[in-house]
Amino acid sequence: MSVTTVSQRRPWAALLDISFWADWASVVGLAGLVILFGLATPVFLSGANIQALLVAAAILVVVSVGQTFVIATSGIDLTLAATITLGAVCLGAATAHGFGTLAACALAVVVATAIGFINGVLITAGRIPDFVVTLGTLSAVTGIGLILSSGEPVMVSSVFLLRLASGAIGIVGYPVLVAAVVVGVAHVTLYHTRFGVHLLATGGQAESARSMGIRTARIKVAAYTISGLCAGIASILLVARIGSADPTINTTLLLNSVAAVVLGGVSLFGGRGSILGPVFGALMLTALVNGLTLLGVSAFYQPLAVGIIVVLAALVMRYQQ
């Protein structure tokens, strides 16, 4: 990374370089929000609130990691939130039909992963733009969820899921642990495997990657499949958190996952990736909502604030090198 080479020579010089701020926008933004909210309302920095904030961020973190893999190939997965909903519906239906919780969770993950795989195949084999395919499957997958459930939410009462949602090791909640494992595996995959390099090459210049013998279609399918897998994990966390599988739940996960990825310094044109960046982006968006809530700001202002932050971040990103 260019930042490290600069900072090796003159540590302070990096701070004058605007590309430093662009690369670390999500970290700087998160730190800024923490200081701002910490001063405005001391409750924000209480152990209990930070714990709650991290648990609340876990789902978005997992989804953003999935979105990162797709965006790094210069694609976009618009189906993500619908896939999570369908995974949740499958989980609920399986439980209602007497399946064990683990089998139901496995079903949710398999269905979500399959949707990601299908997206990838449609895009590469059908040679249809990512945006169009995932926009189509967004609608189709939402429809399947409604058909399967007849539009009715299903209560899911499971000791396992209850523990998953509320349990903790020490002060770290289980959802946070799940997210941390996903982040760890994703980081190693992106930065320490051949697949990771090939993924970035595919997103950066598919033509060049192909002429070096990289099978870019396979890489792309794999990226969407990973995105589906993350959606499956997120669907379990979501059902555990709200205690039911609701086919009509309208989450902000899709747009917030894209926002987190953009805040994290991942180029929407592909080829440039980071896992920790989007994770900090997701934490930042969650902290923003959490802090505004603590300050008693109406929930109606939250989307506005998220939107402003994302556009500001995009402006700073222009100075990335």
């Binding site: 260019s2 490290t4 080479t5 320490h192 090939h198 970035l200 090459a201 950066g204 060049s208 080829g271």
Partner: protein, 258 residues
């Protein structure tokens, strides 16, 4: 005809290729000597690039035979040619701008290490090898950690050539390596190509630039309208003679085959 010398690293004979109704290569035969720089010149559409693409397996000719290093070969795709020891530096260089110099040098040939069941990149090893390779060929880049996007045209060309040599190619095929470069950068790339020859790597070079061909190459082949129309030693010819060869004006030398 010009029978291939005993020390030819690459030969091809009677290569024909049509694209639809266009006879792109007409009974082309040519050879390149081991450890030499062989240039192929010709006007636009003369068939130079098509010939190169046939030689490295990108295009499959209808007829013709080829040998590499004394053995008959038939490349079905570029990977076959690569495995045999022929690397191609395409005009677009096939670099990925967002990746670092080292990542580009090892693209799809990454060094790995095994840790338990995991196969992870040996990043330190690749950075070390990359530095070694660049200094061996005296290629100047600020850092192997630098993104290729920030390099100049000449540096990018050098990286692409370096990558071809780095995997142990014995023949490097280059398509117009200096077409988009300024004077100084052209000189640098030409010096690099000479260093390859000094290291025993054979080079086949497509060029429009007669001065460059005379400066750089050992053997020159001229093509016109899909045919090989002559071959000369670069040391024994002049720019005017090369122009005469590729335009077909006044074929007098006995090397010329019409």
């Amino acid at each position: 005809m010009n029978p291939a010398p005993a020390d030819a690293i690459l030969t091809c004979e009677h290569v024909n290729k049509h694209f639809g109704g266009v006879h792109a290569l007409r009974d082309v035969s040519l050879w390149a000597r081991r450890g030499e720089i062989t240039a192929i010149i010709g006007d636009n559409g003369a068939g130079k690039s098509t010939l190169i693409r046939c030689l490295v397996g990108v295009v499959i000719p209808e007829t013709g035979t080829a040998t590499f290093d004394g053995r008959p070969v038939r490349f079905a795709n570029p990977d076959d040619a690569r495995r045999a020891g022929i690397e191609t530096v395409h005009q677009n260089l096939a670099l990925v701008d967002e990746l670092t110099v080292a990542q580009n040098l090892f693209l799809n040939r990454e060094m790995v290490r095994h840790i338990g069941p995991l196969t992870l990149l040996n990043r330190r090893g690749m950075y070390h090898e990359a530095r070694h390779l660049l200094s061996r060929l005296s290629i100047n880049v600020p850092s192997v950690h630098q993104r290729v996007r920030r390099l100049s045209g000449g540096q990018r060309q050098a990286i692409a050539i370096c990558r071809a040599v780095g995997v142990g190619a014995r023949l490097v095929v280059m398509d117009e390596p200096t077409a988009a470069l300024g004077l100084q950068e052209t000189a640098n790339v030409e010096a690099l190509i000479r260093r390859l020859r000094d290291e025993g790597v054979s080079v086949v070079l497509i060029s429009h630039n007669f001065d460059q061909v005379l400066r750089l190459s050992d053997q020159v082949w001229a093509m016109r309208a899909g045919r090989v129309v002559g071959t000369v030693r670069a040391a024994e010819t002049t720019g005017n003679e090369l122009v005469a060869l590729i335009t077909g004006a006044g074929l007098t030398r006995k090397e010329s085959v019409a």
